[in-house]
């Protein structure tokens, strides 16, 4: 009996001891759910801001026009090719990768205009709020600072993925009507994966431009800086690579090791560019016949069957590229987080 009483006593004391902890836990949880709700509200607001903006309408118009052009070009090329030997293998994917030479193919358009869309949606994300004085008002509401950045990124990325996927489906649908040849499940999955990768790629540019908008107080500066980086990687980087390549070109009569090393070095250099990474991904996913992204020696090629890669193998091949893209995105986000969290926020400064 006495023991039972003691036990009871111990239980009540334990309860008393636990109570404040539970209470604080509850308030923490309440705060957490409140902050989640605030995050959702911010995403909604950002998203509707983008949808309403002229900038988005113009971008969308450009991209849709480009896509329709590229489908037209792909279909004329397909028809010109006729029922050739390669017609039976992955015909559907050719809508995305084929061109009659006058207008670039769909993948090129995505690779070229995608970054522009990312930059356009992100370059003034933070600094415009700052210069309009809304940032200090917003940050004095009970929201976490990082939620603000995350909301900006999430809303824009959501928009980007909607645009890219709907474009992808548009192209597929049009292609289906015109060539009348349905995709195989594998082709469908490949296209979906390609669209997903495109979202990741645009997400990188989006994050880069948000980073610049945190760093630079003027929206014009961050826009110019982002466009400069974009132009550098799409235009100048390959020129520089060519120059370097000519400079370190080994002797024609060099050993295999030397030549291999040269090619590997060149690959490594060119893969610093996110555009190159995305190009690799596109090629591998949409052209299953591509077996390797590097050099292959004769030794490796002999006895290989000339057949397309299986889907799993293609994914395996682009895995490093995908990792690199995601890593670049994460680095940009980390940097903007670091800068933004430590920034002092005053009205209009």
């Amino acid at each position: 009996m006495k023991q039972l009483l003691k036990l009871n006593e111990a239980r009540t004391s334990l309860k008393q001891w636990l109570q404040p902890i539970r209470k604080s836990e509850r308030s923490d949880r309440m705060q957490l759910s409140a902050s989640k709700a605030a995050f959702r509200v911010m995403v909604q607001k950002e998203f509707s801001d983008h949808i309403r903006s002229w900038r988005f309408a113009i971008l969308l118009a450009i991209i849709v026009l480009a896509c329709i052009g590229s489908i037209y070009s792909a279909i004329t090329a397909l028809q010109a090719q006729g029922s050739g030997s390669s017609a039976n293998s992955f015909l559907f994917l050719k809508i995305f990768t084929l061109s009659d030479g006058t207008i670039p193919q769909f993948t090129q358009f995505v690779a070229f205009l995608g970054p522009l869309m990312g930059i356009a949606l992100g370059f003034d994300a933070v600094n415009t709020e700052r210069s309009k004085g809304t940032l200090s008002r917003l940050i004095s509401q009970p929201i976490y600072r990082d939620d603000f950045l995350k909301a900006k990124f999430t809303a824009s990325l959501l928009l980007v993925s909607i645009v890219i996927f709907s474009l992808g489906f548009l192209v597929m649908g049009l292609g289906l009507i015109v060539i009348g040849f349905p995709p195989t499940p594998e082709e469908f999955i490949r296209v979906m994966l390609f669209l997903l990768m495109a979202v990741v790629y645009v997400g990188f540019w989006l994050n880069l431009s948000i980073l610049l908008s945190v760093r630079f107080k003027q929206a014009a500066t961050s826009a110019l800086f982002a466009i400069a980086i974009w132009i550098f990687f799409t235009v100048f980087y390959s020129i520089i690579i060519n120059l370097v390549s000519n400079a370190i070109l080994p002797d024609q009569n060099g050993t295999t090791e030397e030549i291999m090393r040269y090619y590997n070095q060149m690959d490594l250099l060119s893969r610093i560019s996110p555009a190159e990474l995305f190009g690799d991904i596109t090629t591998t996913l949409l052209m299953p016949n591509v077996r390797s992204l590097g050099v292959l020696t004769m030794e490796q090629v002999t006895l290989a069957l000339e057949s397309p890669l299986a889907l799993g193998q293609s994914i395996l091949l682009v895995w490093p590229q995908l990792t690199a893209l995601v890593a670049l995105t994460v680095i940009c986000f980390g940097l903007s987080y670091y800068w933004f969290m430590r920034q002092e926020i005053r009205a209009r400064s």
Binding site: G133, Q141, I143, A347
Partner: protein, 327 residues
């Protein structure tokens, strides 16, 4: 009285510049406190530290008993802050801006709309509720700002230069609204301004803030007493010439502590402005002397009104020091 904001030895240093220096300040529940100081005195920096929007260099801040570095979110649900030159989303309507703020504070959409409508009515913007904020005048923006601060139903509101750029009538209305809020709803108000007159109309207590330091704190009466501590009376007069004979005569008076003379243009001619510190009020004597020696344009005894408090602390800080030295 329960303190709601406590600052102890609070300092903030930017690279080489000290914005706030060892500040001690306590604000109690329900009072309207005016933080008064010239531009760049560190008022805004102090507010930012209270809300955890900038990191402090040293010292301690407690807002509602909580440290803003650790409980920023809790504090921000209970404290409304209206920055100077407040910004809104220009392409949205006034009511949309308010609803957004309310929803960030965890208020459900329906309720938020209801509250926003009530508040807009209260600040006199009911007619402009659906207009875009870009079409608002400065005064309307400030009033919308007040509604924005109130929609979270705060315990404390901090207003940074709320009357900046509003016409006198607008200022009067805004100040009335503020004192009404504090009386009816028991909200603690911290008001930052460099307009002494406006602050004096609504504030229970005033803190004078110069170069990052609180030089005086109390109600207006206490402040003017503090200034009068040296119990000198200043008499100002304007005369045509300042002959040596007058100077000698003035200096002979035993009540005169110091004389400052300054020649000023008066139309085509020049005149002299004298400022005489005396231990006693001897205005009639001086007037008589001046009239004997030269032509007297104007004479008056300086009372310690609010303007003087302002001048003494902010602008005439140096003359005050010299006056003290002379004594």
């Amino acid at each position: 009285m329960e303190p709601v904001i406590e600052l102890t030895r609070l300092s903030k240093k930017y690279d080489h510049y000290t914005a706030v220096n060892q500040l001690d300040l306590t604000i109690y529940r329900g009072e309207v406190f005016g933080l008064l100081g010239p531009n760049g005195a560190g008022k805004t920096t102090t507010i930012l530290m209270m809300l955890g929007l900038t990191e402090r260099t040293s010292g301690d801040v407690k807002v509602l008993g909580l440290d803003p570095n650790q409980h920023a979110i809790t504090i921000k649900t209970k404290v409304g802050y209206m920055p100077d030159d407040i910004g809104f989303y220009d392409d949205r309507s006034a009511i949309d801006n308010l609803i957004y703020t309310a929803r960030l504070n965890g208020i459900k959409e329906k309720e938020a709309r209801l509250q926003a409508e009530q508040l807009l009515h209260r600040v006199g913007l009911a007619d402009a509720a659906t207009k875009k904020v870009s079409s608002f005048s400065r005064g309307m923006r400030q009033r919308l700002g007040l509604a924005d601060v109130l929609i979270k139903q705060p315990e404390i509101i901090i207003l940074d230069e709320p009357t900046l750029g509003i016409d006198p009538e607008g200022v009067r209305e805004l100040l009335e609204l503020i004192s009404q809020l504090s009386k009816e709803e028991g909200i603690t108000v911290l008001l930052c301004s460099h307009h002494l007159h406006q602050v004096q109309q609504v504030c229970d207590r005033v803190g004078l803030f110069v170069k990052g330091e609180l030089v005086a704190c109390g109600n207006i009466h206490q402040l003017s007493q503090a200034i009068n501590q040296d119990s000198l009376t200043t008499i100002e007069l304007e005369i045509k010439h300042y002959p040596a004979s007058l100077q000698a005569a003035l200096q002979e008076l035993e009540q005169v502590v110091s004389i400052q003379a300054q020649s000023q243009p008066n139309g085509e001619e020049m005149m002299t402005a004298l400022s005489i510190s005396c231990t006693e009020d001897i205005t009639p004597v001086i007037a008589k002397l001046a009239a004997e020696h030269t032509e007297l344009y104007m004479i008056h005894r300086k009372g310690y009104g609010l303007d003087d408090i302002y001048h003494q602390y902010f602008e005439g800080g140096e003359t005050r020091e010299t006056a003290l030295k002379a004594k």
